[in-house]
């Protein structure tokens, strides 16, 4: 591909080519049977040009030289047509040359022997989901996504960069019924840059046993009370709270209005950077592409910007945004290496990558002991937030009351709602390293045309004061 790229002649100020291949397998096992196995190899090429300040893109499945030449010619022609309607006059500084190769170690890449092994482990895991205490089990299931994704990137100013990632996610869960009510409880979803080494039978057995034990408690529980109390959020809910109410509102392309017609705007303004007290002084949020096994660890983003750990929020104060070199030029606000594309057929835009909350110094026991009247929630099941990222509502699969410094009875359908900055300013205690969990998602949606991106969130458990909580029912 490198040789083909060198032979192209493009009438543009800058041009770049990305070859992306994603070999992905999705496996569903239900009630010890393989319900579905879907795999695909999605491979293609994105030609990108810059002409008089205007970028344009052309994506194709064809790798031969005439086809790529055609792709670049089409893109250059389109950039020429559109440059008079240009929103921003971009330059080659927005496409710095990137060289090298990123291959994280300590992971087993998926190969032709993996499917057999995955199926074996998955069947074992559902076999170990068991009914207890007279509940009816309706469904025992596990679903996993396994991807080997590679990118090669060449540009007219010398980029020659290769990235190889192995990314996985699986969710083990059981649905049961008791006295006419159905509830589902899962393992909170495990996500990251890992291969087969990270979900051996021991791990799966332990997860299955916890779910078997706790689903009975949830099914026999009362609804979560409706009142205002302290809320202890566990990492498998915390990651999504961070994603929706810190990650998205800090995306600079949202603040600049690119997403207004789809994902939405942001309550954050450009003037807020360096000024806004986003959360309590205990809140420290980083863009951190260096955490081993976290979903979006990499050394360059998809436009060649070098990735470094950066504080977005320090001691509660907003310092930097999730903005690419393009967004930094448009806004004048400090950003990070976050220009990312879903695949070969979408242009790069501002995306979360690894957006983490740094751990504090409270153990889980400290936080429980410090709570007079509260509720612990874990394992997300519902999420919703407005287009300015202000008014949110979340629901979890598992809740447990905290009374006078002790965990007491389990409650079902725990939900809470709040408004972004008041909520983060109510952050009262932050869990220490022992409470940290690396989490994330394969499926963050944004952009027109729509794009899915894989994000990581390493987060601790955290305690918030005075939160509106409530349960289910019509």
């Amino acid at each position: 591909m490198k040789e083909t790229f060198k032979q192209l002649s493009v009438n543009a100020d800058w041009w770049g080519l990305r070859e992306i291949e994603d070999d992905m397998t999705v496996v569903s096992v239900r009630n010890d049977k393989v319900e579905s196995v879907k795999t695909e190899v999605n491979k293609g090429y994105m030609a990108e040009v810059l002409v008089d300040g205007q970028f344009a893109y052309f994506a194709t499945t064809r790798a031969d030289q005439p086809s790529l030449q055609y792709a670049f010619d089409q893109a250059a022609g389109r950039a020429n047509e559109l440059k008079k309607y240009n929103l921003t006059n971009f330059a080659t500084t927005e496409r710095p040359p990137a060289q090298g190769s990123y291959k994280p170690n300590a992971q087993q890449k998926f190969n032709n022997d993996s499917l057999k092994e995955i199926v074996d482990r998955f069947v074992y895991s559902t076999q170990n989901l068991k009914a207890t205490g007279g509940i009816d089990v309706i469904s025992r299931s596990v679903r996993g996504l396994f991807s080997n994704k590679s990118m090669r990137y060449y540009s007219s100013n010398g980029s020659d960069y290769e990235q190889n990632l192995t990314q996985s996610q699986y969710t083990l869960s059981m649905t049961g019924s008791y006295e006419g009510d159905n509830q589902t409880l899962g393992n909170g979803t495990k996500v990251g840059q890992f291969g087969l080494e990270s979900f051996d039978k021991m791990t799966l057995l332990q997860e299955a046993e916890e779910i078997s034990r706790d689903l009975e408690l949830v099914l026999k529980a009362d609804n979560c009370p409706t009142d205002t109390r302290d809320l202890l959020i566990m990492p498998d809910q915390m990651y999504l709270q961070v994603h929706e109410s810190i990650g998205h509102p800090l995306e600079i392309d949202r603040i600049l209005g690119d997403e207004r017609n789809y994902a939405g705007w942001s309550f954050v303004n450009l003037e807020d950077f360096g000024n806004l007290q986003y959360g309590s002084p205990l809140l420290n949020v980083t863009f951190d592409p260096t955490v081993q096994s976290e979903m979006a660890s990499y050394d360059f983003d998809d436009t060649g910007a070098p990735a470094k750990k950066t504080y977005l929020i320090k001691e509660g104060k907003l310092l930097a945004g999730i903005g690419s070199l393009e967004s930094q030029k448009r806004s004048g606000v400090k950003g990070v290496a976050c220009s990312r594309m879903q695949s070969w057929n979408r242009p790069p835009i501002d995306r979360m990558a690894n957006i983490n909350v740094e751990c504090g110094d409270s153990s889980l026991d400290d936080m429980i002991a410090a709570t007079e009247k509260g509720v612990l929630m874990r394992s997300n099941k519902s999420w919703s937030i407005d287009d300015y990222r202000n008014k949110f509502q979340f629901g979890c699969e598992y809740g447990q009351l905290i009374e006078d410094g002790k965990l007491t009875k389990v409650v079902k359908n725990p939900n809470y709602r709040g408004v972004c900055t008041p909520f983060w300013n109510n952050l009262k205690m932050v869990g220490d390293a022992s409470t940290m969990q690396v989490s994330g998602s394969f499926f963050c949606g944004k952009g027109e045309p729509n794009q899915i991106i894989r994000v990581g969130h390493a987060v601790p458990a955290a305690l918030f004061s005075n939160i509106e909580v409530f349960g289910g029912g019509k």
């Binding site: 049977k33 499945t61 389109r78 929103l87 017609n261 705007w265 519902s382 919703s384 709602r417 045309p449």
Partner: protein, 448 residues
């Protein structure tokens, strides 16, 4: 897209499929799915061009069945005949090697023989340098963000029992929103097959007039229960979320159907509420990914009563039921909601006093078993008093059960329906859309 182009793509897919079917060993059954598109995406912000992306993507997914074992693998097509055949054979070989590792599953669906179909809808190619000056010319007086999407989409299915289906459509949409200086917004979509400058201008005029109303002083509406008018697109947002498992027989059997209590007779919906899967809308193919053809019209909820869940052949086999040839996801593909009696010009009068909700945003289940949904108001939402618009509102969060909203509190529906085109473009362009009227609902619960 010309008819010839569609036929050409179809022929090369059919040829590739025939070759692959001929290479099968005895006892092997195969289904091949084709998806392709040639799309121009133009993204706008501040009435200027933010990004321009042209995409040519074509893929085939190979679904192999041996005995009661099944798996699929997809790959991309280049239209280099030799290369594509080589790739197809390698893909088939991968499945043949992997399949023995799976256990048998009694609900595996083998391909069936049946009549094929072909539907090709063509349109004249839209030249970007003709359309863009018209779009942006009008828009220079306003702040617009949006996306223009145009070009053909192709879908095909072939199976080893000889069934062949082809569907292609050529269309565009310009999905946009306009913003006032006070960050108030309205949303609209101009969609069709042929671009017509006069139609576009009148679509834009409607949006501009609505945006003027958004400049009235904001009305501070408290949370609590209000009478609301939900526009067709707001109703569409709710029914879209309902479709995540709501009409699926599999979801019911696997324990997570939000309409479980309706099915079990513990809850009822209003007699005014009816939903159909209705392919007479003509926006998407009637065949599914295994080549089965659904009946043109299927009542899901009829006058408040659940008549049918969407049932795929796989679900039917597993649970001993009858299939209605739903897609494997059991999502509705072509929803039609039955309209009511209220004339378009009487909407404000009928609402009388309450909230006029033009759009909803980010809806999710807050309690599935109670069919309770939460979400946000978005874009043009007004407070109306005695049939008169008083002013725009600050966005509110609702949290309400469908057994109330589409049940006891559903007061009336408009006599006109709107087609809401499917504009989702994750991975590839979706096709289809739904038809919905507006709804008047009492005591709609706002919580934040």
């Amino acid at each position: 897209m010309s008819k010839e182009k569609s036929m050409q793509i179809k022929d090369s897919f059919y040829k590739l499929s025939d070759k692959l079917v001929n290479s099968l060993n005895s006892g092997e059954e195969l289904t091949l799915n084709f998806h392709g598109e040639h799309t121009n995406f133009l993204r706008f912000n501040q009435s200027k061009v933010r990004q321009s992306t042209e995409v040519q993507q074509y893929s085939v997914s190979v679904d192999l069945v041996i005995d009661n074992k099944q798996m699929s693998r997809g790959f991309n097509i280049t239209f280099d005949e030799d290369q594509d055949y080589k790739e197809a054979l390698a893909t088939l070989k991968y499945c043949q090697e992997q399949l023995p590792h799976l256990q048998e599953f009694n609900a595996v669906v083998s391909p069936q023989a049946g009549e094929g179909s072909e539907r090709i809808v063509t349109a004249q190619k839209l030249e970007v340098n003709t359309v863009v000056p018209q779009m942006l010319g009008e828009m220079q007086s306003v702040d617009m963000a949006g996306i223009f999407t145009s070009g053909p989409v192709y879908q095909g299915v072939v199976n080893s029992k000889g069934q062949k289906h082809w569907f292609s459509n050529d269309s565009f949409y310009f999905d946009y929103s306009l913003y006032s200086a006070k960050q108030k917004a309205v949303k609209n979509c101009y969609a069709g097959k042929e671009w017509n400058e006069a139609d576009f201008k009148s679509n834009f005029e409607v949006s501009k007039q609505l945006l003027d109303k958004m400049n009235l002083p904001e009305v501070n509406v408290q949370k609590g229960k209000h009478r609301v008018y939900l526009s067709p697109s707001a109703v569409g947002e709710i029914v879209g979320t309902m479709s995540w498992g709501g009409f699926s027989m599999g979801a019911y059997k696997k324990g997570y159907s939000p309409l479980k209590k309706l099915k079990d007779g513990e809850e009822i919906l209003s007699g005014k509420f009816s939903v159909q899967e209705n392919f007479e809308l003509g926006l998407c193919p009637q065949f599914n990914e295994v080549g089965e053809v659904s009946s043109p019209v299927l009542n899901l909820v009829n006058n408040g009563k659940l008549e049918n869940f969407l049932t795929s052949t796989m679900t039917a086999k597993e649970f001993g039921l009858e299939s209605n040839f739903a897609s494997s996801s059991e999502f509705p593909r072509s929803v039609v909601i039955k309209p009511g009696q209220v004339a378009k010009e009487d909407v404000l009068k009928e609402l009388d006093t309450g909230l006029y909700v033009d759009n909803l945003h980010y809806i999710n289940w807050s309690d599935r078993m109670s069919a309770r949904l939460t979400g946000m108001t978005r874009f043009a939402c007004f407070w109306v008093e005695k049939g008169e618009i008083k002013g725009p509102i600050k966005d509110l969060r609702f949290d309400e059960s469908l057994y109330n909203a589409f049940g006891s509190e559903l007061d009336s529906l408009t006599s006109h329906s709107e087609i809401i085109p499917e504009t989702s473009t994750y991975f590839q362009r979706s096709i289809g859309g739904m038809s919905s009227p507006g709804m008047f609902i009492n005591n709609f619960n706002f919580t934040l």
